[in-house]
């Protein structure tokens, strides 16, 4: 029989609220100083290295990591507050977000001590940007079909092949990638891939930007030609990357970034509608608010389970599934309601621009970081169907 789904009503502890005030004050200062514009949703267009350093200086990167690596030994729930406040403010987090959420924890678990001592403190200071090298031209969701080879050579490996759709590769200092070290076996088609740390910006790596339908150049093709990776950059078990992938997904899949990606259009709609909404607008807004509140309560619940040392893989997949579908539909629902906004609304133009961008962004939300189909497969396995 399947295990029951759990979504206990976890509340953020009091220390989080003090932290939230600090984060809001910091963001307000940065907005006032012109570092970023909270009404501008395409935050990834501006690369703001100094913002990353300031966030690091505040102690908001590597929050949950050990102090010996520059971390702050705070809780997942505190990290959650920082993440959601930054996301809602449209802060430019691209430079540090992947490293803080995903790459750092992988290094903590699998990197040799010298690498950890070198890189983790720099992530915490907001100095380094990470990319994730998973997809290839012929393997996307089918991760374990990856073909980019890592061939053993003296003191390390030679990498040949191509990664694609790699966000931030053009600005990244490092990439954590999976490469093929052995062919798959008959018994286990997932066998033969190994996780590596790759230092970017070196000969043998060519990064080609790819234009997206939003007008952005956020993802890239990354071509490796006889690129050398030293032995101590192997992360975890040779040929065993598949064992390392699943439990980390809970961290990647359940955060506030999985339902708040287009949230700004809801705020702007409320502004445009004004304080005295007609019935249709009120109902539409009411439903959307009820839905986002529920998403957030689910997401916080998963964060609480992670904090308690559990591995809520199915619950996290559910949060990403319904969270990303929700944030994908949100701009369309807001567009429905925006049709009734008065001509005199002062933020009409802002709302329209935001809607254009959000509607163009929407299709990627159910693809990146695990497609809806993959997620539903994971949920189905959790239900005992596969």
């Amino acid at each position: 029989m399947t295990a029951a789904l759990r979504f206990d009503p976890i509340r953020l502890p009091n220390e989080c609220e003090q932290l939230r005030k600090e984060v809001r004050a910091f963001l307000a200062e940065e907005i006032a100083a012109g570092t970023f514009d909270p009404h501008q949703p395409n935050r990834e267009d501006t690369d703001v290295p100094e913002f990353s350093r300031k966030v690091g200086a505040r102690g908001w990167l590597g929050m949950t990591w050990p102090k010996k690596y520059g971390g702050h030994e705070r809780s997942f729930l505190e990290r959650y507050v920082v993440t959601e406040e930054m996301r809602v403010a449209n802060a430019p987090t691209r430079r540090f977000f992947v490293a803080d959420r995903q790459s750092g924890p992988v290094l903590l678990k699998y990197a040799p001590e010298n690498i950890k001592m070198d890189i983790l403190p720099r992530i915490c200071r907001g100095e380094v940007c990470f990319a994730i090298g998973m997809s290839e031209p012929n393997s996307g969701s089918d991760l374990f079909a990856a073909k980019t080879r890592a061939t053993k050579t003296n003191g390390g490996y030679l990498i040949n092949g191509t990664k694609i759709w790699t966000s931030s590769a053009h600005i990244a200092d490092y990439m954590i990638a999976i490469f093929r070290t052995s062919p798959p076996t008959k018994e286990n088609r997932r066998h033969g891939l190994t996780q590596f740390l790759v230092k970017m910006k070196q000969p043998g790596i060519q990064v080609n930007p790819i234009g997206q339908i939003t007008g952005q150049y956020e993802f890239n093709e990354v071509v490796f030609t006889d690129f050398f990776v030293p032995d101590d950059h192997v992360l975890g078990e040779i040929d065993g990357a598949w064992k390392q992938a699943t439990s980390e997904l809970a961290y990647e899949r359940s955060g506030p970034e999985r339902f708040l990606e287009t949230y700004y259009v809801l705020t702007e709609l409320v502004r445009a509608v004004g304080t005295n909404p007609d019935t249709r607008s009120a109902e539409g807004i009411g439903r959307l608010v009820a839905q986002v509140h529920t998403m957030r309560r689910m997401s916080v619940s998963v964060a609480g389970m992670l904090q308690a040392g559990k591995e809520p893989v199915v619950e996290a997949s559910i949060v990403k599934d319904i969270g990303t579908v929700w944030e994908q539909q949100l701009p369309h629902r807001v567009r429905d309601l925006a049709a009734f906004v008065e001509e005199t609304a002062t933020n009409r133009e802002t709302l329209e621009k935001q809607l254009d961008f959000a509607i163009k962004t929407a299709p990627k939300l159910t693809i990146q970081g695990g497609t809806t189909e993959v997620l539903r497969g994971i949920i189905a396995r959790g239900l005992g169907l596969r």
């Binding site: 029989m1 979504f7 705020t267 009411g286 009820a290 997620l375 497969g377 189905a380 239900l383 005992g384």
Partner: protein, 423 residues
């Protein structure tokens, strides 16, 4: 069979041991629970292990086991669960055209003190906590219980707000819709009409919320026999009646506490319904998964078809959303120090989201079951139709969405995120 018996006995013994260490105020409840456990144990001996009442046992035991709730909450919920498993088994009820299951079920619930969970001992109840009562409602939803348990609990709770003692027997609350109003006349009698009152026909007494010309709010205990009741049925086939009070003299009437109004009653009722819907969805997910693992089509179990798997994954998502929204709202009410915008958000969001989940999730459960799920003989409709019916009680999702939308707009755009993040 032996396994089941052993487990029942151990469980009863365990609870008796535990009760010895429980803090004092729940003496009556403890006595009632001991009786109920013994009763449930006795009934379990008569059942076979394969009875459909056992379907959900592991699932629910699982659900409860790790919960960070007080032990006493577990005991209350487990007692309710056990009574439902033994006496409100969906398959048995579905086959029983004469309704013979109702009396023993209500009797067992009454003996366990569950209908008056939210009434203090000195007002005739069993003095369970709000949280304990909410966990009973979750269990009631998982079994799609069709006796006025939630309604009597709510009525007892409402009366207790004005320190009015609860009588024995079935009760319900009037009004049960945010649009209906009951008026206190100058002579102290009550007038007004309330539609969609659940189980009014079955109730011996009504807990009535009424206001006078000046807007002062009162809570009254009314003899159901003094009111005109036009019977009706909701989508689930349960009583949903129109109650008319024409200068009815209440048995007792007292002022409501300061700040208590009809919205408070509707939200409490709405959270109760949200928990019941979430519970019904849990069961719909469970029976749908089980059915898909049994039913063979095109020479394989239908659970092996990706289209079916993805439908069930979506049902799991809807069930999860309902569970999260409802338990969060219940938790918000349990811990509320005042009735503010945050508690309002929690309560109405639960009703809105659970109602949406009832539609989407119930639809998938039916799709997975195919034609068999559309029959009277199959138990699916007990959950799916009740979940749909419960959407209508204490204000529908569209009604509350308008109210929530107004609140959000009135606070202004820049206050939306602080409201959401406050929870």
């Amino acid at each position: 069979m032996n396994g089941v018996q052993t487990r029942e006995i151990r469980c009863a013994e365990f609870i008796l041991c535990l009760m010895a260490f429980m803090p004092p105020p729940h003496a009556a409840l403890r006595t009632a629970l001991v009786t109920a456990m013994a009763f449930a144990h006795h009934k379990a001996q008569e059942k076979t292990a394969a009875g459909p009442g056992n379907i959900s046992r592991d699932w629910h035991a699982n659900l409860k086991s790790g919960n960070a709730v007080a032990e006493s909450e577990n005991i209350v919920a487990e007692t309710a669960e056990k009574i439902f498993a033994d006496l409100a088994d969906a398959q048995t009820i579905n086959r029983d055209s004469k309704g013979a299951w109702k009396t023993p079920l209500w009797q067992a619930l009454t003996e366990a003190g569950l209908p008056l969970s939210w009434v203090d001992e000195d007002c005739g109840g069993s003095g369970a906590s709000l949280a304990e009562g909410f966990s009973v409602l979750s269990a009631a939803g998982r079994f799609a219980v069709a006796v006025p348990l939630a309604e009597t609990m709510l009525a007892g709770w409402l009366l207790a707000q004005a320190k009015i003692s609860s009588p024995d027997g079935e009760m319900t609350v009037v009004p049960a819709s945010p649009k209906d109003r009951i008026t206190v006349n100058a002579d102290g009698s009550l007038s007004g009409r309330a539609r969609g009152v659940p189980f009014a026909k079955a109730a011996k007494h009504f807990a009535v919320l009424a206001s006078d010309a000046k807007g002062s709010v009162s809570i009254a205990l009314v003899d159901a026999g003094k009111c005109r009741i036009e019977t009706g049925l909701n989508l689930g086939g349960d009583q949903s009646d129109t109650v008319t009070l024409d200068k009815v003299q209440p048995l007792t009437i007292k002022p409501a506490p300061k700040g208590f109004d009809q919205t408070r009653l509707m939200l409490m009722g709405g959270v109760a319904r949200s928990l019941q819907i979430a519970g019904a969805l849990e069961s719909m997910l469970e029976i749908s998964v089980r059915y898909s693992n049994e039913r063979v089509a095109f020479e394989k179990k239908i659970s092996k078809f990706q289209a079916v798997q993805h439908n069930l994954a979506r049902l799991a998502g809807e069930s999860a959303a309902a569970l999260a929204a409802a338990t969060s709202a219940a938790d918000a009410i349990v811990n509320a120090t005042s009735f503010n915008d945050e508690v309002f958000l929690e309560a109405v969001a639960a009703k809105i989201r659970c109602a949406e989940a009832a539609e989407k999730g119930g639809g998938i459960a039916h799709q997975v079951h195919g034609a068999i799920g559309f029959t009277n003989e199959h138990i699916l409709h007990r959950y799916s139709l009740r979940a749909l019916a419960w959407r209508d009680d204490f204000g529908s999702e569209s009604f509350w969405a308008v109210e929530l939308g107004k609140l959000v707009c009135n606070r202004g755009a820049d206050e939306l995120w602080p409201l959401v993040a406050s929870r």
